[in-house]
């Protein structure tokens, strides 16, 4: 059925939003079929974002892990993560649809910064909903968003993290649906968002595939990416979906008690408009999550990841806070790169992968840079 990935996905929204989703889907389909839309998108990707992002062979890290590790450098994008790819794509759609105002949710602040950036670029007012807990641990990004002219709205309900910010953004959208475009930051939410976000992020996978073939002349054995909502992962997976390449998502195992590992520990359920793997108790109440990486601190996961996990096309591993923090330090020392704590989960998984696949060639999606996390890392005592 349209908008579903197997049993996952769909449109579970208040009726008021349904016509807006139809409008969005129509706008998306017409834009996607227009060469001029993609010309403008690709122009901005090149001239504003700085794409293509490099694919770098990480020599010292490779020697350390006993693998051949290539890093897809989304950290080098303008604004410091893959989030800008999606933000550019969606603001072009919002402009086509004649929307006057943009809203977004953010966890780590990377999507908030990307959204505030494209709103500055296109001269549109912007409100970013952010959990007060996340505002505390991602102060730098809050200041950046404000400098860019965005209104950062603290969310204190529930656990005051990404899920609550997303609920609050949806409440704003349902109230201001005529004028407002909801620029969702991950491959989550009701159809058509997961499909749309994947399409914009698939530029990562398309580039990475061409780059590895050009540099190495062969496909990698595996592609590894961290998964919160899972937009960077679905973006790089998209390039290798039909190749004999292992696709591995890495979920946040948190502190071992609370995690963000929806596929590993969740059950199918509905959150924020879609059916997906959800961390929930026996009554269907959503459980509190924890990860040192704010961007992975989410109880759900993009519906296509749920589908890929069930079908066996991709598998989803676990990395805890400690392992991610060690990987953060390791990549600094061995490669001179500070990864986002989210991306550090994917780096940390290399040690696990190497145990059964010594010498294998892998691409890791280095989805963001870690300047924003220095504060957290120092507090954690590294």
């Amino acid at each position: 059925m349209k908008g579903y990935f197997g049993e996952f996905g769909g449109q579970y929204v208040p009726e008021t939003l349904y016509p807006a989703l139809v409008e969005l889907e129509n706008a998306m389909e017409s834009a996607f079929n227009e060469a001029a839309f993609w010309t403008e998108f690709e122009g901005l990707m090149e001239d504003y974002v700085g794409r293509p992002s490099p694919l770098s062979l990480a020599r010292r890290l490779s020697a350390h892990c006993g693998l051949e590790v290539w890093l897809k450098r989304e950290d080098l994008n303008h604004t410091g993560s893959h989030k800008i790819n999606n933000a550019i794509g969606q603001i072009l759609l919002a402009r086509r649809m004649g929307k006057a105002r943009i809203i977004a949710e953010t966890g780590a602040g990377q999507h908030g910064v990307a959204t505030a950036t494209v709103c500055a670029l296109f001269g549109m007012p912007c409100a970013v909903y952010m959990g007060s807990e996340d505002m505390q641990r991602q102060r730098l990004n809050v200041e950046r968003m404000r400098l860019l002219g965005a209104d950062v709205v603290p969310v204190t309900t529930g656990s005051a993290t990404l899920k609550d910010a997303t609920s609050e953004a949806i409440r704003d959208w349902v109230t201001n649906v005529d004028t407002t475009y909801y620029l969702i930051g991950s491959a989550i939410g009701p159809h058509p968002y997961p499909t749309m976000v994947k399409r914009f992020q698939s530029i990562i996978g398309a580039e990475a595939r061409a780059q590895i073939l050009a540099k190495k002349g062969a496909l990698p054995q595996a592609v590894i990416a961290c998964v919160g909502g899972g937009s960077n992962a679905i973006g790089i997976f998209a390039g290798f979906m039909h190749d004999p390449v292992e696709l591995i998502g890495v979920e946040a195992y948190g502190n071992g008690v609370h995690s963000g590992a929806s596929i590993n520990f969740g059950f199918p359920g509905v959150l924020h408009g879609a059916c997906l793997h959800l961390l929930q108790d026996g009554d269907g109440q959503v459980l509190p999550t924890h990860s040192v990486a704010a961007g992975l601190d989410y109880p759900g996961v993009g519906p296509e990841h749920s589908f890929l996990a069930m079908s066996g096309r991709a598998r989803y591993g676990l990395v805890d806070d400690r392992q991610a923090l060690s990987a953060f330090a390791l990549l600094n020392r061995l490669e001179g790169i500070a990864p986002a704590l989210e991306s550090a989960h994917a780096i940390a998984y290399l040690n696990i992968y190497a145990q059964d696949h010594p010498g294998a060639c892998v691409i890791v999606n280095l989805s963001g840079r870690g300047d924003k996390d220095l504060h957290t890392v120092l507090e954690e005592g590294l």
Partner: protein
């Protein structure tokens, strides 16, 4: 049964009460108090951790009920007693996730055998055909929502897969009492009524007797949630307060109906 209860009540007010606030025993007494005070039907809300269609009052009600230890098993234990003690139909209002956790079909059947007459699911899937069949199979009325933004063609589809009553959402936005009703509400309700023989009841934003007066001129009933819950959460005696709120809203005392 729900339709009849609404159509036979000369001023059909449908109150919403969050289950388990402050505890299940009190919820039962509140339901009884609402029924005695002339409610046409009673919505029992299942608290949910992430109520995205709700404003601050019902968010807080959900949170407090969960913090107070709300459990689905307790609800199933209490529902038959609540249904037996009052003469008005009980309707469950729940986000879809708590109903899905142990399978939608068995959960709906269990609600029916516990004495519930209908369900309202604010985040039901946009393609609710399969859900409608499940509720019919379980013997429950699926009460569907029509929003101010719902186009005519979709209104027609929704009312064809709807039983009990049509829930006309008064405002674009989340739940919560508002002082003004939008001017286009009457036209919207009349448009829905032209498509169906089901009663059409208005909810979202209702919080005064004057608003109920206005709604009754063109609709068959008014749903009152946040206005009631705000007062119940503040009251020292929520059971008495429930009856008082119904009186403020001008509910007919049952002898008069």
């Amino acid at each position: 049964m729900i339709s009849e209860a609404i159509l036979s009540n000369r001023r059909a007010i449908i109150p919403y009460v969050t289950a388990g606030l402050p505890d299940m025993e009190t919820t039962g007494k509140i339901i009884q108090s609402l029924a005695k005070a002339g409610a046409a039907a009673i919505e029992i809300g299942i608290p949910f951790s992430d109520p995205m269609a709700d404003g601050p009052v019902l968010q807080q009600a959900s949170k407090r009920a969960i913090d107070a230890g709300f459990k689905m098993e307790d609800l199933f234990e209490h529902l038959p007693g609540w249904a037996a003690q009052c003469q008005v139909p009980l309707v469950i209002m729940s986000y879809i996730n708590p109903l899905m956790r142990h399978g939608l079909a068995p959960t709906l059947r269990r609600l029916k055998t516990s004495g519930v007459s209908g369900v309202i699911i604010p985040d039901e899937p946009a393609d609710a055909g399969a859900l409608f069949v499940l509720t019919q199979d379980a013997g429950l009325d699926l009460i569907r929502l029509v929003a101010p933004t719902t186009p005519a063609e979709r209104q027609r589809e929704i009312v064809s897969q709807c039983r009990g009553f049509v829930y006309a959402v008064a405002v674009k936005g989340v739940t919560g009492a508002r002082t003004l009703m939008p001017p286009e509400l009457e036209g919207n309700v009349r448009a829905i009524k032209s498509l169906t023989d089901l009663p059409v009841c208005v909810g979202f934003g209702v919080g005064s007797s004057a608003q109920v007066d206005a709604i009754m001129r063109f609709a068959d009933g008014a749903i009152v949630g946040s206005f009631l819950m705000e007062r119940l959460m503040q009251a020292e005696d929520p059971v008495a307060a429930a009856g008082e709120v119904m009186k403020i809203l001008g509910a007919p005392i049952p002898e008069d109906i």
